[in-house]
Amino acid sequence: MQLIKNKIVTEDNWCFISDDGVLGKGDICVSLARWQQNKPELLSHTGKLGVRIGPADNVAQLAGDLPKLDLIELDFPDFADGRLFSHAWLLRGRYGFKGELRATGQFMPDQVFYLSRVGIDAFKPADSAYLPKVLENLHDFTVNYQQSIAN
């Protein structure tokens, strides 16, 4: 499966593990709930670690753990839930997350310019057919009025 990272089409090497799934090998991403429940077990995992955030999660709870993480997925249940835009801004701007901040799920390719401006650097749309649009739409505007968190 492919995604866009830093405006380039890239292979996705991460594997999301459901809450009752076996951790397995390689780079893995889990829900915030699982991260909070199984942190010691996860920290002993040999691959890289990521956490998936939903709109209702409180990202402040993750702030102290950010150095341990290489990926945070912001998973859109639907494109209209704008809380994830603030979560991205907080993770990148306030809590200083340096790893990959990835939008996944049902965001629209027409939202990626805004998403890139709140600190998201990777996009994995639900349908990979959207990848060319994501790439194109990242260039929708060359000017803006607000400071970008990513710059």
Binding site: P55, F79, A80, D81, G82, R83, F85, S86, W89, R94, M108, D110, Q111, F113, Y114, L115, R117, V118, D140, F141, T142, V143, N144, Y145, Q146, Q147, S148, N151
Partner: protein
């Protein structure tokens, strides 16, 4: 990218914000983006839901008969070039008219979906757009139509409106809010922008030390649950304006309800959280961002430079013709009394153009009127026009010597009905005639009330009565804050109307009290004339309608209205 302010262009006349390269590029790129989105939708590459969210953020609704396009008029300021462009659009893409809204915007009721990108491209050539005029995002910032010229002003609010316009436009974090979000700014002692009924109201105030800053109100709103906004911060230094707004928006975006669209406005969050707790949350957030978002004085003064005063004629007060004309032409004198207002510069008046002629839907303007208004504004008011919250227009800077000539010309254009602030200066939504949300007609009721109140002497005797008519409980015409509010409701497929009394969106804000059971459509006008008759009969000397309602309550009106049924 930081904003590179190119100083105000030296237009011989225009004293309003002029786009720099950044503003223009942004609007042009927005047109290109929406053109692509429209094409993709028409090709089936965007779903209805996706395109709906995108088109709404470009002002495009789908109504009963056709799409409706709402064009932004930032804080109600229009140049004559912009007016002529609106006239051209009305002629070319619509049925030769447009409609003024209660938030100082302009609507077209008959554009074709596939032509909307072309309309937006036309607008972009005159520094206009439809960005964020609908959808769950930050909307057009509104203000006092008398900003910069009124006699009760603490400071001109327009530069702050422009700063807010820029900050709200394409804000990446706050474009998918729980619900729509409206900000109004007032710089005067008297609130003419209904700021207490906005998600955020910003008031310019002077503190005890004599410094000017802002008082911040939050949680006001109309619609289904009208709420009066509350002061959450009595004084905010100017440099913190945008950081404080950003803190409010971040808390709202994170914690505003998304489970029920009728409980998603910030007023519900403030109510459910409690003002004190809500304020603590905002202040805590603000502490973390305020130092990084300060507005420096150069930035503020650069924007203020765009709104410098026009070249007023110092000899304007010397004119004496104007007094003679009033004596010779009673109709002119009446118009002068009702449709013009005090100006801070001696010898000047601010003039209301009444877009409330009896036989026309309130707020509707034709293409030829728009063109003629542009000509008149150039001749008499420094080439600038303002739209008002009550769906009229203002020429802000007219010399008293020019008033008579202006009145004559406005009269031929049907824009001089001497009814500003009277019972026929009705705020009215499009209602069932155009709107897919409406339960009942509103324009027809307005026409009937106009017909019943065609005696101008009686109308002027009644004086200041604000009637607001909405065709459904979404309340686009702000019926809950009308001195008399009329709300259309559907009862088993027929149109009925609830009447409220005593609402006000001015300084002493109030939500109207329901008079009694809804009345049938054919009884509305009689109910209104009965209410006005009770007022005329029972008022004390010099007592306004609203003051009498506040003194006696609704009972005397109720008895008469329901007695005649």
């Amino acid at each position: 990218m930081s904003i590179d302010i190119i100083g105000p262009k030296k237009h011989s006349h225009i004293c309003m914000y002029q786009y720099n390269l950044i503003d223009q590029t942004l609007v042009d790129q927005r047109v290109a983006q929406f053109r692509r989105q429209t094409e993709q939708y028409l090709n089936g590459e965007l779903t209805e839901d996706q395109f709906r969210a995108l088109r709404l953020r470009n002002g495009l609704y789908v109504q009963i008969h056709a799409p409706m396009l709402r064009v932004a008029v930032p804080y109600g300021l229009l140049s004559t070039q912009q007016l002529r462009k609106l006239a051209h659009i009305a002629r070319t893409y619509d049925k030769s008219y447009c409609h003024l809204t209660t938030r100082q915007n302009v609507q077209f009721n008959w554009p074709k979906l596939e032509q909307v990108p072309d309309i937006l491209a036309e607008l972009a050539t005159v520094q206009m757009h439809a960005i964020q005029t609908s959808g769950n995002c930050m909307r057009n910032t509104t203000t006092d139509p008398l900003a910069g010229v009124c006699i009760d002003e603490i400071e001109d609010p327009r530069p702050y409106c422009e700063l807010i316009r820029q900050w709200t436009t394409l804000h990446p974090e706050f474009d998918y809010l729980p619900r729509k979000f409206k900000i109004a700014v007032s710089g005067a002692a008297n609130d003419r922008a209904a700021t207490q009924f906005h998600d955020i109201g910003v008031h310019l105030v002077k503190n005890a030390a004599g410094d000017i800053g802002f008082s911040i109100l939050v949680g006001g709103g109309l619609g289904r649950t009208p709420v009066i906004g509350q002061v959450m911060r009595p004084y905010l230094e100017k440099k913190h304006l945008l950081s404080y707004l950003e803190a409010i928006l971040r808390i709202y975006n994170l914690f505003g309800r998304r489970d029920n669209k009728y409980k998603a406005r910030i007023k519900i969050l403030v109510k459910e959280t409690g003002l004190d707790t809500f304020t603590e949350m905002v202040e805590a957030e603000w502490q973390l961002i305020k130092d990084g978002m300060e507005l420096d004085e150069q930035r503020i003064s650069a924007i203020q430079g765009h709104f410098s005063a026009p070249d007023y004629d110092p000899s304007a007060p010397k004119d004496s013709s104007f007094a003679q004309q009033q004596a010779q032409h009673p109709a002119f004198a009446t118009w002068y009394k009702h449709n013009t207002t005090d100006h801070k510069i001696p010898g000047y008046r601010a003039v209301y153009l009444s877009v409330k002629a009896p036989d026309v839907p309130p707020g509707d303007l034709t293409d030829s009127q728009l063109d003629a208004i542009a000509d008149l504004a150039e001749r008499y008011s420094f080439g600038e026009v303002r739209s008002t919250h009550r769906q009229n227009l203002v020429f802000a800077d007219v010399k008293q010597a020019d008033l008579f000539a202006l009145w004559q010309q406005l009269d031929t254009l049907h824009l001089a009905t001497a009814n500003i602030g009277t019972a026929t200066d009705i705020i009215c939504c499009p209602g069932l005639d155009f709107c897919s949300l409406a339960n009942a007609g509103s324009i027809g009721i307005t026409k009937e009330i106009n017909a019943a109140l065609d005696d101008m002497d009686y109308l002027h005797d009644i004086g200041d009565v604000k009637i607001n008519i909405s065709g459904c409980m979404n309340g686009c015409a702000h019926q809950s804050v009308g001195h008399i509010g009329i709300l259309g409701v559907d009862k088993k497929g027929t149109e009925w109307y609830q009447i409220t009394l005593g609402g006000s969106s001015e300084n002493q804000a109030a939500i109207g009290e329901r008079l009694g059971p809804a009345v049938a459509k054919h009884e509305v006008t009689q109910a209104i004339t009965t209410i006005l008759a009770v007022y005329v009969e029972q008022r004390q000397e010099e007592e306004s309608f609203l003051a009498m309602v506040q003194r006696v309550g609704i009972d005397p009106f109720k008895e008469q209205v329901y007695a005649t049924h």
